[in-house]
Subunit: 464 residues, 2 copies
Amino acid sequence: MNMRILAALAALTLPFPLIAQQSPAHDPAALQQKALGDNTAYGIVEDLTTEIGPRLAGTEREAAARAWAVTRLKAMGFANVRIEPFDMKTWVRGIETAEVTGPYSGKMHISALGNSASTGEKGLEAEVVYFRTLADLGAAPAGSLKGKIAFVSHKMTKTQNGASYGQFGGVRRIGPSLASEKGAAAIIIRSVGTDYHRNPHTGGTSFGEKGVPIPAAALSIPDAENLERMIARASKKGEAVRMKLVLTPRQIGTTQSGNVIAEVPGSDPAAGMILIGGHLDSWDLGTGAIDDGAGVAISAAAAKMIMDAGTPKRTIRVVWWGAEEVGIFGGRAYAEKHGAAGHALAMESDFGADRIWQVDFRLPEGTDDLQTRIANALAPLGVGRGRDVAGGGPDHGPIVALGVNAIDLQQDGTDYFDLHHTPDDTLDKIDPKAMQQNVAAWVTVLGIVANDPADLLPKAKVAE
Amino acid sequence: MNMRILAALAALTLPFPLIAQQSPAHDPAALQQKALGDNTAYGIVEDLTTEIGPRLAGTEREAAARAWAVTRLKAMGFANVRIEPFDMKTWVRGIETAEVTGPYSGKMHISALGNSASTGEKGLEAEVVYFRTLADLGAAPAGSLKGKIAFVSHKMTKTQNGASYGQFGGVRRIGPSLASEKGAAAIIIRSVGTDYHRNPHTGGTSFGEKGVPIPAAALSIPDAENLERMIARASKKGEAVRMKLVLTPRQIGTTQSGNVIAEVPGSDPAAGMILIGGHLDSWDLGTGAIDDGAGVAISAAAAKMIMDAGTPKRTIRVVWWGAEEVGIFGGRAYAEKHGAAGHALAMESDFGADRIWQVDFRLPEGTDDLQTRIANALAPLGVGRGRDVAGGGPDHGPIVALGVNAIDLQQDGTDYFDLHHTPDDTLDKIDPKAMQQNVAAWVTVLGIVANDPADLLPKAKVAE
């Protein structure tokens, strides 16, 4: 409250450009200091993971999370809290077991991939055909996998910026449809992950419009490596390893999902709003702590801190997105409904809860000074300026594609794929201190951009 | 072979005491150098975990492991390879699921404890009553748990020597029988472990001769902490958390287990044999890599290295014990059959595969020089001399109790309880370099004691 009075007084006595650039109410150093001692974000993710838990897109649990979110965002004091619903086709998990039946034995830890077909309750027993890489699977002759289980065992490596997910995630995204084309009865992959625990990494796959879905699942990494050893030993004896899979997921048809929206109204609606958030849905194996309870918590805690410090020039719109994991359905529905108009900037937190180490921009020409001020203000938090073009986060992809600006506060992803899409995505994996550093970085950027005089409204796009 | 000839020549030309103390064939420095470049031990545990996998005591898988072991030990060149069978009562795991049914929701990762009763396939739904410690459970009034699920959430801490397992393991060993006495319908415990993964730690419990078995299971640590948060929130609202458990383990009656024995015959049978080994059975959730594939591998690889270097004075008897996990049945059967007579020393490896950091002794008076020589020979491997009295390992407890000497090569247990009795006990957790250091320490001690002139035979015990 004192801060607001100070801001009002300052507005009366100082020349406009200086106010705009250094809003006393949203002074980066003061906001950072406050954020580094504030546990609002951790409280949000603690409550969400405890009171709601897993919240698969399109299910009753995601609906429960939306209802919880509306109550929570209203209690935090945000304006215009509401749900924007949309319809989606929904897939749910069933039984999932895997067992080596010969020449060795053993149960393996497995989880179906999103959109996997079912083996039926009686399961499927077949010979396993090993491919070291996705490219090797691609090179298999048509029809050569008929009646067999394809096994692809690409090994992912750790990277700070998560870049290896692009390459190695292909096994999960494309592998199943490739195996289906070649006649495989099913496909199992080494989990797309970097840990060594008996936790399979689930995630979405797609068979396209015309493809024939087959059972598709991920083995935990210790299981995948054990299977490789079994195959190597069996092949020396001229034998093939056989497995029995029981996977009974199913498509349950059209259900409802939705985006939960809340706002910090700005003093100058014409300046365009800042769109921030994370996704509320999660995969069903963990409790969705780092993916993406952390993101909804960091973005909302930062917006609340701005709101509590004083009215910003620009409106901040917080969106807790629905149905990100299964195809960015929330982001697509939003872009279709709202378009780019009136959006000055998009920022999302969806890469865990580790410290932010880099900032990247996608801002119009003539904003060099703004970018330098942001980078300088972030430096005390250990954040360096990167050379990538910001993407704005997965849920903002659709409106960034329509011309909206973006800033990415890059989280350290070195250990992110130890936990990503596994049962291990639970609250205990979040370091409260790292989360405070995230909020401090977010509030820094919001405090500057929300009050900046630059014209950040998207220009009408020329048809390409 | 050259080493043997050298040893024989040396025996002809050097005075006896010096030979005995510094057997050239078993020179510690030379053996250590060889061990630090040898992968025999890793190969054994790799083969065992890949070709056999989990091998629960009394089951067909443990029998398969014994058959595998006989073949393997013969192929390594050991003499007198044989199985000494014994009968045991056998418990096997069934279905195991746990779900919070109110006022929150969520599936939890759970595993039954050995000797747990069944809930029946339809399961058991009841109110959860929380106890912070085992002592708190002990203080609950008789009958106060009737129809309820007791939940004890003791937190274990990491220690290098594993001492905390004595204290905190009590929750698993005694908790279920205490809860049964007080009328509980079932008991769930926070896993006795130090990790933060969704892996329950199983392990044996006992209801005694007269106790009534109840369903008893361990939650993974992230699940236990989430349940604690749920209980705290619900109790603020005056509500109780309810859970549904489905646990269908069963006692399958009397089956056969056995100890697998192999020997390096010594030149002086009257000097008494050195009994070494690890246990061949494992819990059924992992593949038994660190518990205790590592131990059978380290002990046998060290014995083979002694055998290959030349005939020792004392016979080395390698035992791969059966049914350790469920009550040290193999060690008890051996002590009953063989007694203490003729055993100069017992040493077991059963605390993982991390580096050895300490040596402890239980040797007769007058062996100070021997102990000093052993400690000095181990020092180059980073092994310090401890002040504990050696126990000889769990399987050797019964004969050590009859008066047999013991030396403990203590492995670093700091991270052991991250993996102990979980699905995560898999080959990838073993560092081949640390395993070589283990073998180097073992071969050092064996090389010295197997050739030492000291009288190490057990004295006839006076009835106490």
